[in-house]
Structures are given as structure tokens and as C-alpha cells.
């Protein structure tokens, strides 16, 4: 349904997107995952037709922005990162304003208010809404034209777990309506919970993509020894422990992330190395690799850096 080929976009001093290709089938929930500055927003804004790629081609349902803008605007709903709506307008007035842009009447607002669970706030000024409520309003505006394609750019960033869960509930409900969703996030659990297909980006490129199962089966034969030390001492020795596949060391927090083939074999060797190097461990955890660990392995960085 959405196909992007070799998309490149640079700004003055940043190569924001470096040749990304994506194929997104209809009716799926897609998460684009990555740390800040990975190029998620730039990529998504090019799909939304807000920015033009320097090179590459984007087609949505076989149409392109240069020839079918009016049509694409009607079938797409979107929520940008950090949009501030008009402070002194009420929630209902804001919805009516955007409904009018789509040629829709005032009858749409009550349905949207129910959907985003803001019916009791419909007379409140936007300035008096909490951050979570504003994000829900933003999603409500995105849903106003019953879009075939919904694109949400970091809808839950900075929200507390309760507010985040409220947004997830809205999105899970929408799934029944066969809406397609592209969601950017830097929360792994959000991608796991909501989405069928996951694209992990870092520094303008796609690092890995696939369904949740694909990603997990491809990588879960690995296991992880995650630890926190008092200093860097012994790091060299740890990376040479029997069965070790790679060590990612975070200088700031002195956190080590050692992926191994098999914990049962590697853990005793690891502990021996700790004793031999006179390193001090503050925390130690062993587990099967999850998406967070996968990201660290693929990029050498933590997702929330």
C-alpha cells in the first residue's frame, strides 16, 4: 500500500535519511523504532507529504504526492510531533475547525470525542488540557476524516504509563476498523504491544525490519549477560570470555551488555574473569535477548540514550 524506494533526505549539516526502502501492506500496524535523531520523523513526514525527499520515490496506494495531493490528503490522518493547538479554543471547537477543512459537519466531533475519551472535556480550553489529553486530541484530529492511513509521530513520548495506556487502548480499538497505522516511537514495549511489523532505524538507515516473531526468532537463540560495574576495569577480558559474541560498554553508566551463545557455558567463565580482574559488580542480570537488547546489539547504543 505504501512503498518507499531509496529515500534520501539531507538538511544543512545532517544526512537525516540515507536510502531507506519500505513496503507497507494495507491494514497493518507498523512501528518505526529508533532513538532520537534516527530519522524517524523525517521519513514519516516525507510519507505524509510535508517534506520532499531529495531522492527516491514514495507511492501511496499507487499515487504520488506530486500528482494526487488532494486525494491523499483526504485519505490520510496524521499527528505531528509536538503540535500546539490554539490555546483559547475549546476541544470541540478545535475538532469542528479541522472537520471543516475536510468538508465535514459539526456532527463529527461527538463521535471523535467518544473515541478519544474526551467527551467530558469538550468545553475545556486546549490550554487547560494535560499533556496526555492533548495527545489524545491530536489523535482525534488525525481520525476526523476516518482515514485509511493513520500516521502518528511519537504520540506517547513524555507521557506517564497511565496516559500511554489510554492511547494504546484507542489504537487497539482502531485496529478493528482495518485502519493502517504507521507509528514512530522509541519505546520498544509500545512497538511490541501495538504493531505487527517493526522497522528499527538508526542514524538515517533501517537497521533491521520484520514482524515481531521474525525478529525474535532470528535473534532469540542468543542470550544476554547484562551487568553494572564500578568502573571499566576488566572489560577487555569479559569480551574474550568463552562463548561471548560481543560486548557493548556504556562509558557513562559503566553498564556492560554481553551477548553470549549460551549462558550456562559463559556465566561461570564471566564470573571467573570478574574475580581475576578484581572488578566490582554492582548488578548482574541474565536473560534471553529481547528487542531492547537486539537494538543495543545492532547499533551499539541504548534506545533511550
Amino acid at each position: 500500500m505504501i512503498s518507499a524506494r531509496n529515500i534520501v533526505k539531507s538538511f544543512k549539516d545532517v544526512r537525516a535519511v540515507r536510502g531507506v526502502s519500505l513496503e507497507i501492506p494495507r491494514g497493518q500496524y507498523i512501528a518505526i523504532l529508533g532513538p532520537n535523531g534516527a530519522g524517524k520523523t523525517t521519513l514519516v513526514e516525507m510519507i505524509e507529504g510535508i517534506q520532499k525527499p531529495d531522492a527516491g520515490e514514495i507511492r501511496i496506494l499507487g499515487k504520488s504526492w506530486s500528482t494526487d495531493e488532494a486525494h491523499l490528503r483526504r485519505i490520510m490522518g496524521l499527528s505531528l510531533q509536538e503540535t500546539a493547538y490554539i490555546d483559547k479554543l475549546t476541544v470541540e471547537e478545535t475538532l469542528n475547525l479541522f472537520a471543516s477543512f475536510f468538508g465535514l459537519g459539526v456532527d463529527v466531533a461527538p463521535r471523535i470525542l467518544d473515541l478519544i475519551n474526551l467527551a467530558d472535556k469538550r468545553k475545556s480550553y486546549v490550554m487547560n488540557l494535560s499533556h496526555g489529553m492533548r495527545q489524545r486530541l491530536s489523535i482525534g484530529i488525525a481520525l476526523i476524516n476516518e482515514p485509511e492511513i493513520l500516521i502518528l509521530d511519537e504520540p506517547t513520548t513524555g507521557l506517564d504509563p497511565v496516559a500511554r495506556r489510554e492511547i494504546w487502548d484507542i489504537l487497539v480499538d482502531l485496529k478493528k476498523k482495518k485502519t493502517s497505522l504507521i507509528l514512530t516511537t522509541h519505546y520498544m514495549e509500545e512497538a511490541e504491544y501495538l504493531c505487527d511489523y517493526i522497522v528499527i532505524m538508526d542514524r538515517g538507515s533501517v537497521v533491521v525490519e520484520g514482524t515481531l516473531e521474525e525478529l525474535l526468532t532470528a535473534h532469540t537463540h542468543r542470550e544476554v549477560i547484562s551487568f553494572t560495574a564500578s568502573d571499566r576495569r576488566g572489560a577487555e577480558a569479559f569480551s574474550r570470555v568463552e562463548g561471548a559474541l560481543g560486548l557493548v560498554w556504556d562509558e557513562k553508566s559503566n553498564r556492560g551488555h554481553l551477548s553470549v551463545r549460551d549462558i550456562v557455558t559463559s556465566l561461570p567463565r564471566f564470573l571467573e574473569a570478574v574475580e581475576r580482574e578484581k572488578a566490582t559488580l554492582l548488578a548482574l542480570e541474565c536473560r534471553k535477548m529481547n528487542l531492547d537488547d537486539l537494538f543495543i546489539n545492532l547499533t551499539g547504543r541504548h534506545l533511550h540514550e
Binding site: I50, R73, M76, L80, T83, A84, I86, F98, F101, I141
Partner: protein, 326 residues
């Protein structure tokens, strides 16, 4: 060298110059604006403030007068460049009403002295009068009889008459500039503009909405200011200052030519009647100066006019005082 004060000052300059649009708003716009205003206000050419019409006269004028005008015309380097259009009396009155000249002069028939016609409430006219008188004082012999001043009352020549329409224009300009400009910048900063552009909303409709809103707001502002000025006209001055502005396009024309200039007395009476009939011009009310216990309505001697000027301005200048006593 990392002082908080220095950093705070630097911060503001950085904030300023790192926003490239600012260069346009802060530097280019004022220059363009003052250029445009210069064209608008300066139209008509010359310094309006220094225009004194000379009434055509078939009589030969005294030598000093002709030579002085010639000299003054040649050198516009004087501290007051005064332009002397030669007009008929009727044209001079119309020009006075329109504010094209600030006073007009005629020679008192049968004498070398001058008669000035102006509205003493106009600072500009007073200035022109005083400048002319000073220059002429040096040019003619002390034996000449003194000049006469006829105080007229003309609507729309005072500073406030210039001020109110100016304020109105300024108001509309700034409200349009900031009302639209700033509103757009603000919703752009909020990224709302981007969000709206991502809907099927027509961009032309968006701009038109700002335009129409400003039009309505400006109309309301105009009415409010108009009503205020209209009600305050007796406080601001004796005449409706805005009213006089609105009268401009339909100035009554003073057209009678059945005058004779037999004597100063006749001329004076003619002035009174003639000007009264003309509507826009009225003979001056008695100044707050008493001469010999009687209030003299129309014709003032020169020193009386100067006294009036001083009283109006509240000045107590010793040199001027000396001139009065002369």
C-alpha cells in the same frame, strides 16, 4: 571570560541574528517603510511647512520685498527654506484650507508694509510668520510701518489635525503588520501551520481569513477612534479635527471676486464677510489679549499677534518681549 551579564547580552543578539527572517523585519522593512512613507508624505514636493503664498498685485511692490523674495528663492540653504508661490487671493484661501500653504501675504495697498493671513493656532504658520518677519526686518528700513496680521480660523491646520489621521493610519498599518505577521509566525512556531497545511484546507482561504479578520478589526478600530475624536473635538481643540479631515475632498470654494481694495478698512470688512460666506474659513476670535480695554476681533497689529503666540506657547522669552515692546 564567561560572565553571566555578557552571556545574557550575547544571548539576545544570537537569538536575533540566528533567525534570518529577523534581518528582513528589523532592517529591510523599516527602510522600505520609511521610503514608502517619504513618497506618500513628501508628495507635492518642497517643504510644505515653509510655504507662504504671495497675493498677486497689480501694484508695483517695494524693492526690498522683491529682492528679498528673489534672494530667498535662490538659496534654499537658509535655516527655513520658504517657498513663495504667487497665487490669487481665492486660490490662496483654498490652498490654506488644504494645508498646502501655511500663510499668505499681501502688501497693504499704498504702503510698503505687509499683511499676513494665518491661523495663529497653527504652530507651523506662526513659525513661518516669525521667520519671515525677522528676515524682512533686516531687509527694510526701520522707518517702514509695521506689518499687520489677520488672524484666521481654518479647520484642519493644527498639529492635532495632522496627528489623528496619522494615528489612524499608523494604527491600521501596525495592526495589519503585527496582526497578520505575528499571528502567522506564532502558529508557525507552534507547528500548527504545518498541521493545517497537511489537511485539504485551501491555502488561499487561510490567507483570506486573516485578511478579512484584519479588515473587520480595523473597521472597528476606525469607528472607535472616530467616535472618540468626534466627542472629544471640543477638548482637543475648538473644531472637529477629524471632521476637518473628512471635509477635505469637498472643500467649499471661495469664489467671489467683487472686492475692492480701496482701503485697509474695506479690505478688513471684506475679509470678514467673504470668509464667513466661504464656510471653511472664519475670522479669528478675539485673542486673549486686551488692547485698550476692548476685545478686537479681526485685525491685529503685529505685536499683538506675537503676544498671542507667546501666550499660546507659554513662553516668556526676554528677546521676544523686547520685540513686543517695540
Amino acid at each position: 571570560m564567561n560572565k553571566p551579564f555578557f552571556n545574557l547580552v550575547a544571548l539576545q543578539f544570537k537569538e536575533f541574528f540566528r533567525e534570518p527572517e529577523i534581518i528582513f523585519w528589523a532592517f529591510v522593512l523599516p527602510i522600505v517603510l520609511s521610503w514608502l512613507l517619504g513618497i506618500a508624505i513628501g508628495s507635492g514636493g518642497g517643504t510644505v511647512s515653509g510655504r507662504a503664498a504671495v497675493i498677486e498685485s497689480s501694484e508695483a511692490t517695494a524693492d526690498y520685498w522683491i529682492s528679498w523674495i528673489a534672494r530667498e528663492r535662490d538659496s534654499s540653504r537658509g535655516e527655513h527654506a520658504i517657498d513663495f508661490p504667487i497665487l490669487t487671493r481665492d486660490d490662496a484661501i483654498v490652498a490654506l484650507k488644504k494645508g498646502e500653504i501655511s500663510l499668505f501675504i499681501e502688501r497693504i495697498p499704498g504702503s510698503d508694509s505687509l499683511r499676513y493671513f494665518f491661523d495663529p493656532r497653527s504652530g507651523e504658520a506662526q513659525m513661518t510668520y516669525l521667520t519671515l518677519e525677522r528676515s524682512l526686518d533686516g531687509a527694510r528700513g526701520t522707518a517702514s510701518p509695521p506689518s499687520e496680521v489677520v488672524a484666521l480660523r481654518i479647520q484642519g491646520t493644527r498639529y492635532v489635525d495632522f496627528l489623528v489621521p496619522g494615528l489612524l493610519a499608523m494604527d491600521i498599518m501596525s495592526s495589519a503588520l503585527w496582526g497578520i505577521g505575528w499571528a502567522l509566525i506564532e502558529i508557525r512556531i507552534k507547528k500548527l501551520l504545518r498541521r493545517m497545511a497537511a489537511t485539504p484546507m485551501h491555502k488561499s482561504m487561510f490567507l483570506a481569513s486573516h485578511f478579512v479578520t484584519r479588515l473587520i478589526v480595523n473597521a472597528l478600530e476606525f469607528v472607535a477612534l472616530f467616535v472618540f475624536v468626534y466627542h472629544q473635538r471640543h477638548h482637543l481643540s475648538d473644531d472637529a479635527s477629524l471632521g476637518s479631515v473628512l471635509q477635505l475632498p469637498s472643500l467649499p470654494r471661495v469664489g467671489d471676486s467683487d472686492r475692492s481694495e480701496a482701503s485697509a478698512h474695506d479690505a478688513r470688512r471684506f475679509d470678514t464677510e467673504h470668509l464667513q460666506r466661504g464656510g471653511g474659513l472664519r475670522p479669528g476670535r478675539a485673542p486673549r489679549v486686551r488692547a485698550g480695554g476692548t476685545r478686537r476681533a479681526f485685525l491685529l497689529r503685529r505685536h499683538e499677534a506675537i503676544q498671542m503666540v507667546l501666550i499660546d506657547r507659554g513662553a516668556r522669552d526676554a528677546t521676544a518681549g523686547a520685540r513686543i515692546s517695540r
